[in-house]
């Protein structure tokens, strides 16, 4: 009797852990890292440090939200970094007409990129990786052509407020990211569009047969992703107070994909974890911050990031085979 109980209990626990780990592993990892930092990193809980971490993670969160939606449809968007650069390059050109006009032009440019990506994926039927590769290559080139390859300082106080101003004690940047997280979470969970998106990601053929407007939903998803990326681009310009098309959003597609994957959204589509994505971005930010605080070199940080990605995907994979 007692030996039987001893024999079966570990098996149950393993099964439970396996079911639990993909869903809540990110939060557990964040909790562990935070506890470690509170114990061993001086000034970790100082408001100035928390503030910097939040400001640094905000653009990645914004881009990762769009990426999560695209990945939910079994796609991928490599062009987000180029869209950020494009948005950044357009800002100083139209700032003369006022902040609103400049932001509007940047957002429209982002939406246009989304239309191209979405059309190539949904109507032409290209694989998302190739479709968005074209604008990944061309988009940054276009941004450099627009900006003349030069770094331009931005001095408009209204725009700079977006990047460095405070609202009720928190940076505007963080408020913007938080608001976008709530909107996207609402869209995914509570709207018809969200349901359709997940259905298409789960099984595109049967969604088509069920009469869902597959193409329209796909194009909209790519537009949303690009517009979110241009918001991140605008905020990046506002924060660093200059527009540098060659540097803004460089390699952010990798950070965004990492955040989404670490957050537990499978690359196979049909599932979007919005809060998980935010947690994924926070986790990667915490890892980097922890290693910098302990004087580990950036090279080590990169190798650790690689291992974390592999572990996260490996853990998520276990659930699928079960």
């Amino acid at each position: 009797m007692s030996t039987e109980a001893v024999a079966t209990r570990p098996a149950i626990d393993m099964a439970r852990i396996r079911a639990w780990l993909p869903a809540y592993g990110v939060y557990a990892a964040i909790a562990l890292l935070v506890l470690y930092n509170i114990a061993f990193t001086p000034n970790f809980l100082a408001w100035s440090n928390v503030r910097i971490q939040l400001i640094q993670v905000a653009p990645i969160v914004i881009v990762a939200l769009g990426m999560a939606l695209v990945i939910g449809t079994e796609g991928i968007d490599l062009s987000v970094g180029s869209v950020m650069a494009l948005a950044a390059a357009l800002i100083p050109l139209y700032l003369g007409y006022g902040v609103v006009a400049a932001i509007a032009v940047s957002l429209i440019a982002g939406a246009a990129v989304g239309v191209v990506n979405g059309t190539l994926v949904a109507k032409v039927g290209l694989q998302p990786i190739v479709a968005t590769l074209a604008l990944f290559v061309g988009g940054r080139g276009l941004a450099l052509v627009i900006s003349g390859g030069q770094l331009k300082d931005v001095r408009n106080p209204d725009l700079l407020f977006l990047g460095s101003g405070d609202l009720v004690g928190l940076p505007v940047l963080v408020w913007t990211a938080a608001a976008l997280v709530l909107i996207i979470a609402f869209v995914v969970r509570r709207t018809v569009f969200g349901r359709r998106l997940l259905a298409i990601g789960g099984n595109r053929a049967s969604s088509e047969l069920a009469g869902l407007p597959v193409r329209r939903v796909l194009i909209t998803v790519y537009i949303v992703c690009s517009v979110l990326a241009s918001i991140a681009g605008i905020l990046a310009v506002a924060r660093i107070q200059s527009s540098d098309a060659s540097a803004v959003g460089l390699l952010i597609e990798l950070s965004a994909i990492t955040a989404v994957v670490v957050g537990g959204t499978p690359l196979t589509g049909g599932k979007v974890r919005v809060l998980g994505t935010v947690a994924g971005a926070l986790l990667m930010q915490l890892v980097i911050a922890t290693m910098i605080k302990h004087n580990l070199r950036p090279s080590t940080t990169e190798m650790v990031q690689a291992v974390i990605i592999l572990i996260a995907v490996y853990v998520a994979r276990e659930r699928k085979t079960r």
């Binding site: 991928i76 490599l78 190539l120 032409v124 039927g125 290209l126 694989q127 990786i129 190739v130 479709a131 590769l133 074209a134 604008l135 990944f136 290559v137 061309g138 988009g139 940054r140 080139g141 276009l142 450099l144 052509v145 390859g149 460089l250 390699l251 990798l254 994909i257 990492t258 994957v261 690359l267 196979t268 070199r297 950036p298 090279s299 080590t300 940080t301 990169e302 190798m303 990031q305 690689a306 291992v307 990605i309 592999l310 995907v313 490996y314 994979r317």
Partner: protein
Amino acid sequence: MTQGIMSDPEAPAAVVAADVRRAERTDRIVGRIQRQGALAVLVAVVIIAAIAFPNFRSFDNTATILVAAAPPMLIALGMTFVIITGGIDLSVGSLYVLGGVVSAYASQWGLLPAFLAPLAVCGVIGVANGLLIAYTRMAPFIVTLAALLGARGLMRAISDEGSTTYLVKNSTFRTFGSGSFLGIGYPVWLVAVIVLIGIVMLSRTRFGRAAYAVGGNQDAASLMGVPVRRTQIWVYVISGLLAGLAGGINAAKLGSGVTVLGTGMELDAIAAVVIGGTLLTGGAGTIAGTIAGVLLLGVIQNMINQVGNLNSSYQQVISGAFLAVVVVAQTYLARMRRVT
């Protein structure tokens, strides 16, 4: 129409046969365009460039294009193998840089280490990629993305965070990078030999057949007794080895292991492979197409350099637009074939 068929039973058979023949012919022509499209465009672009730019026609310029295309050609060759099996290798850009740094560092011990060290290091990472993809069934996209980060970290770790540039100490190795035989640089000859080996491997060996089978339908290949896992591991090893060698060649050419080049190299390689008519879905593709794709991107870059006042940003815009146009055309051609 129906009456004609009713009255003459011989006619429909003939009509159907003619239809089939016409469909077969269309299929053949469309298929040929899809496979050789990149070559056709390459020829067209070269003719235009030769007419428009007098300097383009010179032998020196051709040699320059070929030498510049040598490392990308190796990377795209490895990528072709990977993509034919239905995978993707995002780590090659990092491996290229890592290979260059390792090669420059190892050149202090002689010519052979300068070649073998990058092959060893990048080959091991290729093995890791292959094992993870074949045995854990994780998506190639994610595994090689992690390898991209890991290899970049490794490169920075051995170059003091990218601040140390190792010079190539071995003069023979430097001569290999900058010297030439019959007016064409040594790297081009080496790459040509490797590409020939690659063509034979892909079209004439059991391994090549297995690569196509795995990319076409992994489950069916497995049931037929094709060694799926071994094939998958080998393509990533080949891709890693070729990326490392490409890095070594570049180090020999530049005389140092430069730590900043190579970002986006993997996407250039994918672009060249896709332009060459290899489908990302796997199971189809040729190395000849990849050669045309790589040369096409090289010629476009050369043309933009010839214009002079156009900067490199335009080159990105044009390459991006080109990629989109070619891929869309390829997709429609592939669809036409399936319909007919």
